[in-house]
């Protein structure tokens, strides 16, 4: 963030982070199969950095566990995210970061759909259509300046 530029939303509402998932005995048991569940997917995306604020998507309530749906047996994941303001120009970038994170972190059998929470963004349909177009996503990720921002969102923050 350069000093001169202004943030679109300088004082956003901050939400509490959920604690670490508690370890259960069955997770430590070699023989039990742990299905991939909503919380596991949520854990993948909640720590993604917001492109503008030194905060995670979870702290800005952009992602919530209730808006994550996974069906392990059918290999489908659907995530809805909520931009902090309806005209947020970062919506596509945030969606792309979520999409890329899931592509990198999930087995490739999964079909992932990333959408804006209905009714929360002015260009909801356009953004959804872009995120669903894998050709555009592939081309975007070959654009090094865009990939740089996405990678920063996906990096463990160390400044």
């Amino acid at each position: 963030m350069s000093a001169g530029s202004r943030l679109e939303n300088a004082n956003p509402v901050i939400f509490q982070r959920s604690g670490e998932r508690l370890l259960t005995a069955s997770e430590e048991d070699e023989d039990v199969h742990d299905p991939i569940d909503d919380r596991e997917i949520f854990d993948l995306i909640r720590s993604i950095n917001d492109p503008e604020h030194p905060l995670s998507l979870e702290e800005l309530n952009v992602v919530e566990q209730v808006r994550v749906k996974v069906n392990d047996a059918e290999s489908t994941v659907s995530v809805e995210f909520t931009p902090t303001i309806p005209h947020c120009s970062m919506a596509t970038l945030i969606g792309l970061s979520i999409k890329v994170k899931l592509l990198r972190a999930l087995p490739d059998r999964f079909k992932t759909d990333v959408h804006i929470t209905p009714g929360t963004h002015a260009s909801e349909e356009a953004v959804n259509k872009q995120l669903a177009d894998k050709e555009r996503v592939a081309a975007a990720l070959e654009n090094s300046s865009l990939l740089e921002v996405v990678n920063q969102c996906l990096s463990t923050r160390k400044i």
């Binding site: 490739d108 059998r109 079909k111 259509k129 177009d133 894998k134 050709e135 592939a138 081309a139 070959e142």
Partner: protein, 330 residues
């Protein structure tokens, strides 16, 4: 008489990357593939199996999205996200880069040769379709830039016999172009799909056009009989819905058998047969065969061999090519 798709061979074509497209040469002896690894591979049959004959690298800086053979089979055109189209010339068993067509502002998404071999069409995310003319000295010249779509143009395809061009777009529409007084114009806009149209295919005679879309349907369009001289009019005569679980990325009409194959984002490859008894104005298609897990990931392309009936190639995001045989069950 039940028909089925059986796997002939799987090829790891573009490892650690996706395979976007496959294309047979006109004699059906070679298959070209391209992908996210920026490479083009040429496959040929040796004994019972298909093997990689050559790799065309260093032509493109980014993903190679589509490849197309010239009708004579001596040239190969490749369209890339690096905004260029490359023309390769076949020399003995190798290919050399002949020329690079530049002009599109960004990703070139498709390239196609006209049946005469004198014209080449390209389309891009810059919303335009370009037509290039080729002379005897292998010189290429852009003759027209058409901006009929409002969003990126995903696919272009030529009519099998006439100089008629069709394009499919992210704006959900299909456009049909014809040359008029040295200029190419959009003569018809086919609306009906409710999301991105990914691909198009003419039937053998060119009377009908199949389109496939992100709306999970395939539509069959037919040229209207009325007002034939000047205006072109196409109407949707059939919609195949309920068969596909996700985006349909490609559709291919076999020029030899009339079978219609689709490539789908639900990992499946399907073949449809037309009910020959139905009214040609209201055709009926039924699912003849399908492989639901044809690939491990999205199927991007299906392509019928132009000489060997029932031989089908498909390719996928998992980087693999599959060769199938569509035949009657034993």
């Amino acid at each position: 008489m039940k028909e089925t798709l059986s796997l002939v061979q799987k090829l790891s074509a573009h490892p650690d990357s996706r395979c976007w497209f496959v294309s047979w040469n006109p004699s059906g002896t070679l298959l070209a593939s391209c992908g996210g690894d920026k490479a083009i591979r040429i496959w040929g049959r040796e004994g019972d199996s298909w093997i990689c004959k050559s790799v065309l690298q260093d032509g493109h800086q980014r993903t190679v999205r589509k490849v197309a053979w010239s009708p004579c089979g001596n040239y190969l055109a490749s369209a890339s996200f690096d905004a260029t189209t490359c023309i390769w010339k076949k020399k003995n068993n190798d290919f050399e880069s002949l020329t690079v067509l530049e002009g599109h502002e960004n990703e070139v998404k498709c390239v196609a040769w006209a049946p005469s071999g004198n014209l080449l069409a390209t389309c891009s995310r810059d919303k335009s379709v370009w037509v290039w003319e080729v002379d005897e000295d292998d010189e290429y010249e852009c003759v027209t830039v058409i901006n009929s779509h409002t969003q990126d143009v995903k696919h272009v395809v030529w009519h099998p016999t006439q100089e008629l061009l069709a394009s499919a777009s992210y704006d959900n529409n299909i456009c049909i172009y014809k040359e008029e007084d040295d200029d190419w114009e959009c003569r018809a806009t086919l609306t009906g799909h409710t999301s991105t149209v990914w691909s198009l295919s003419f039937d053998a005679k060119g009377q009908r056009l199949a389109s496939c879309s992100d709306d999970r349907t395939v539509k069959i369009w037919m040229e209207g009989s009325e007002s034939r001289q000047s205006d072109v009019s196409w109407k949707c005569v059939c919609t195949l819905s309920g068969f596909h679980g996700r985006t349909v990325y490609d559709v291919a009409w076999c020029p030899l058998t009339g079978a219609l194959a689709t490539a789908c984002g639900d990992d499946g490859v399907r073949v449809f047969r037309e009910d020959e008894s139905a009214d040609p104005q209201q055709p009926l298609f039924s699912l003849a065969a399908q492989v639901t897990k044809a690939h491990n990931q999205d199927v991007n392309c299906v392509s019928w061999n132009p000489k060997e009936p029932g031989l089908l190639a498909s390719c996928s995001d998992d980087g693999e090519i599959a060769i199938w045989k569509f035949h009657e069950e034993d």
